[in-house]
């Protein structure tokens, strides 16, 4: 019995897209013969000669080039070596790619893959979660898959979408997370999923925090609590309906995110739920984010900086008592 990792799913989606769609090509640092810093494009340069191109260390130009190619009908996938380095390309993403369709009616179908989130020893510059930055700018789709299956089907959808997609894949899941096989059907990327049904409270989360949340939910089930876990999958667009339906069932909401605490997905979810589903809430909605400092290097600090199953469980216990 073989199994496939989250990282392999990303590779497989790219291989599939390269095979099926001649408009697709990949551009990024070391993505060619080397197969990428994380090996997400391993062997692809060999399988698809000329279509997996090494770029110079020029994040601004990498995105700019993808924009020009997209205007001309291609479907570029840009790999950032780490999400953190995409700040050097932000201008092209936020001001050029994101505004193009609104300004000119010409679509800008490109995908920027961001290896995101923290890992032990990653430190301040190789650990950031930037989905909130991109979701702020009108015109960008921001996907945050948290399962192997979603990594595969959502990346395929990202490539097919006519808009620029920021694809936040989580490095912590790359090798750990495994599935038996790749799915043949898919939930649309703009739909959230109830991963675990429940009754007593809803956790809304995404990406790596899905798994910490599921672990916390499992822990609480031993105390007899049934926690519903909603995986957002995409943070823009954001599937408010699925969230509201869950809160309608449970009456309590905890939003869990690995991002820094100011603003971001957690605040956006709470603002939507309170505006549209205030009456559904039996207790004040809560959020749990990482701490408001750069992501620390030392594993002991890092383990405290981000939410974990244990801090999520504590937050749930507090929420259930409110």
């Amino acid at each position: 019995m073989t199994s496939i990792t989250y990282l392999e799913a990303i590779r497989a989606a790219q291989a599939h897209a390269l095979k099926e769609d001649s408009r697709v090509f990949i551009y990024g640092q070391d993505v060619g013969a080397f197969g990428g810093a994380f090996k997400a494009t391993k062997n692809l340069a060999k399988e698809f000669p000329g279509r997996v191109m090494d770029s110079p260390i020029s994040e601004d130009a990498m995105i700019g080039m993808a924009i020009g190619a997209a205007i001309e009908g291609m479907r570029p996938i840009v790999e950032m070596q780490f999400a953190d380095f995409s700040t050097c390309g932000l201008n092209q993403i936020a001001n050029h790619a994101a505004t193009l369709f609104y300004r000119t009616e010409v679509p800008c179908p490109l995908v920027v893959r961001l290896p995101s989130g923290g890992t032990s020893g990653g430190g301040p510059f190789h650990s950031q979660s930037l989905e909130a930055i991109y979701a702020y700018f009108p015109g960008l789709v921001v996907m945050t898959p948290g399962t192997v299956e979603d990594a595969y089907t959502m990346l395929l959808e990202a490539i097919n979408i006519d808009d620029p997609v920021i694809f936040c894949e989580h490095k912590f899941l790359y090798y750990h997370l495994k599935a038996e096989s790749l799915p043949t059907t898919a939930l649309p990327a703009n739909k959230a999923r109830v991963t675990r049904p429940g009754r007593d409270a809803t956790i809304v989360t995404y990406s790596a925090m899905l798994h910490e949340s599921l672990a916390a939910a499992a822990e609480l089930s031993q105390d007899g609590y049934e926690i519903e876990v909603v995986d957002l999958r995409s943070v823009k667009p954001l599937d408010t309906d699925t969230i509201l339906a869950s809160v309608a069932r449970t009456g309590r909401l905890l939003v869990v995110s690995e991002a820094f605490p100011w603003g971001g997905v957690a605040a956006e979810v709470i603002a939507r739920v309170t505006a549209e589903g205030f009456g559904l809430l039996d207790a004040p909605p809560q959020r749990l984010n990482a701490k408001d400092t750069p992501v620390p290097y030392h594993p002991a600090l890092w383990g405290t900086h981000r939410p974990t199953a244990s801090t999520i469980a504590s937050a749930l216990h507090r929420l259930l008592k409110l």
Partner: protein, 345 residues
């Protein structure tokens, strides 16, 4: 000193002895005149309150601008910048889109969503600049790479920038990318001595901006920016070189902008000495003089052109002023092209 440093770079060329045909010269002149007169109209429309946003004019830079646009073909990529009214006309824009965009007509290519110089028709290879200087260089590279994927040859991608824009990281990254990929890219730098009010001395320290070419391993060209013949010659050479596999071409023109940065700027920072120097001569007058001296056209013929252009400008302005403004009630306020994405955002 400057010359010397420049001569050290073998890759640098200048116009040389190539001869420009009189009909090309006159055609270019007509486009320059059109740009000049159209921009005068835009300035007047701004003064009378009909245009709301900034008005950025290319006065004094028409020869350079037109010389690039006129050497491009349908199917090429063109990403003009702030002061390229002449080049835009040469590339085939027509004055309708310019007036519509400045005046915010709902019928223009930008439909009131974007304004003034931020216009284009990307589907037709005519890219719409974003304000952030330098950003268009790599975008044109991407378009050229798309064409290469499709096996298209003999095409050129061109973009323009000012002396100030060369200081952006974006310019550097884009030019370097073009050099690595040996793309048929022409980048025209209009060194009009100032970026807004900032003189060259606070913008760069090399002897001449064309010296940047050697650092990228691409061909550099110098051109006298207010001499239409030189502009036509050098741009012809540069565009042809790019088209025939010569890789990226960096063309640097020396000239002066004969007007402020935008409508509100009196350009008092431009020194009298500069205005009196050869740089300060008006390319349009110089070109007109040449046409008359060489007897390619008579004063009467030139006057007739001017009339024709003025009539067209007036007619187009009148038409556009009657066109509907965008209706905010009818706007969908959707930034996405993908239909199933709208619904959820």
């Amino acid at each position: 000193m400057e010359q010397q440093a420049n001569n050290n770079c073998k890759s640098t060329t200048t116009g040389g002895t190539l001869e420009i045909a009189s009909d090309l010269y006159c055609q270019a002149y007509r486009l320059m005149l059109t740009a000049r007169l159209l921009e005068e109209k835009l300035a007047a429309l701004k003064r009378s309150g009909k245009i709301v946003g900034g008005v950025f004019l290319g006065r004094g830079q028409e020869a350079l601008s037109v010389a690039l646009g006129i050497h491009l073909r349908k199917g090429d990529i063109y990403a003009p910048l702030i002061r390229d009214q002449a080049g835009r006309l040469a590339f085939g824009e027509g004055m309708l889109d310019a007036l519509r965009t400045y005046l915010g007509s709902a019928l223009g290519s930008m439909r009131g969503r974007d304004g003034n110089i931020h216009r284009g028709r990307p589907r037709e290879g005519y890219f719409a600049m974003i304000s952030h200087l330098g950003a268009m260089v790599s975008a044109v590279c991407g378009a050229l790479i798309a064409r290469r994927f499709r096996g298209e040859t003999s095409i050129v991608g061109a973009t323009c920038i000012g002396d100030g824009g060369t200081s952006t990281g974006s310019f550097h990254e884009g030019l370097n990318l073009a050099a690595i990929e040996k793309l048929p890219l022409v980048v025209v730098v209009a060194n009009n001595q100032y970026a807004y009010s900032t003189p060259n001395s606070s913008q760069f320290a090399c002897h001449h901006l064309v010296d940047r070419a050697i650092g990228y391993g691409i061909t550099g060209h110098r051109v006298i920016g207010n001499d239409l013949a030189d502009c036509l010659k050098v741009l012809q050479k540069a565009v042809a070189a790019a088209r025939t596999g010569g890789g990226p071409q960096l063309v640097v023109a020396d000239l002066l902008r004969l007007i402020g940065h935008a409508d509100h700027d009196d350009a008092s920072y431009i020194t009298e000495a500069q205005k009196q120097s050869p740089l300060g001569r008006d390319c349009l007058i110089l070109a007109q003089n040449t046409i008359l001296e060489k007897r390619w056209m008579s004063q009467e013929e030139l006057d007739l052109w001017q009339k024709e252009i003025e009539v067209e400008i007036e007619a187009t302005t009148t038409r556009v002023l009657r066109e509907p403004a965008p209706d905010p009630e009818e706007e969908l306020w959707i930034p996405f092209a993908t239909s199933h994405i709208h619904s959820e955002s």
